[in-house]
Symmetry: C2
Subunit: 162 residues, 2 copies
């Protein structure tokens, strides 16, 4: 019995390790964390976006989005400007530096996972989701608040903390 | 499609998060990391053990065991003494302080996982292992060297680094 749970633990540790290594490599090779990178990607696709739409799209809390936008703005990667007609709306846009940092950023582990996962058969996707939820339940992590971001540490941390 | 991969990512992030939180809590509540704790547990069960047997039992590399033993010895939790008949053999034993720190150490997330996993039906254990190995493959982590230890960071780090 011990050997089977060890098989599961080895696979889990592999996943944890590669996620951590990737976060560290990203911190060295890029000026962006995974969350910052996903945010910039979404805004680049939309050309301009409202913070509330960004929060929905990348499934992060509005408060986290605000912290991320403050960081990205102070780095000169995005601008925020009020809508000329509805002053309550704030549009986020990428600067040239923002486009450049996004282009130079290495592929995210997250994107690799998503591409691979999308190519799986539907039954296999279901099996993986069921298995992960079972593990989360075994670890009492079922109700832990979590965003769909493959990263370690706080999602609104600065790149230097990684 | 995106929503299904997000479901998987949320569950993965939950698992990552709870493992990290647990490592941090352990660092605050105990003087031991998960690997140190597993090592002490094994030696306590055996009363005395050879480093090579410890390495096999908790599936860590001999070099990692050596680092862990150095740490535990300098903290006064274990002693190493040469066999009186075969001087090449070194026996590891717990000191009173080692027994005490082990007793006071909180339950490991690892133990919770193993207990829960052992109670699952055989088909479900297989499903979980298959799913985890599939995810590791999606993340190109299939060949990453990994021990069956539910922890983040280096396994031979000191508790203060956690």
């Amino acid at each position: 019995m011990k050997n089977r749970s060890n098989e599961a633990l080895v696979a889990l540790r592999r996943i944890l390790k590669v996620t951590e290594l990737n976060a560290r490599a990203l911190a060295q090779q890029s000026e962006l964390t995974t969350s910052q990178s996903l945010l910039l990607q979404y805004v680049a696709e939309q050309e301009q976006a409202l913070p509330s739409a960004i929060a929905r799209a990348i499934e992060l809390k509005q408060a986290t989005i605000t912290v991320l936008l403050n960081q990205l703005e102070s780095n000169g990667f995005v601008t925020r400007s009020r809508d000329t007609e509805d002053r309550r709306r704030v549009w986020v846009r990428l600067t040239d530096a923002g486009n450049k940092v996004l282009e130079q950023s290495p592929d995210l582990l997250q994107s690799r996972f998503q591409k691979g996962f999308d190519r799986l058969e539907s039954w296999e996707q279901s099996m993986i989701i069921t298995a992960l939820e079972r593990i989360a339940a075994l670890l009492d992590a079922k109700d832990v608040e979590a965003a769909p971001i493959l990263d370690v540490g706080d999602l609104d941390r600065l790149i230097d903390d990684a």
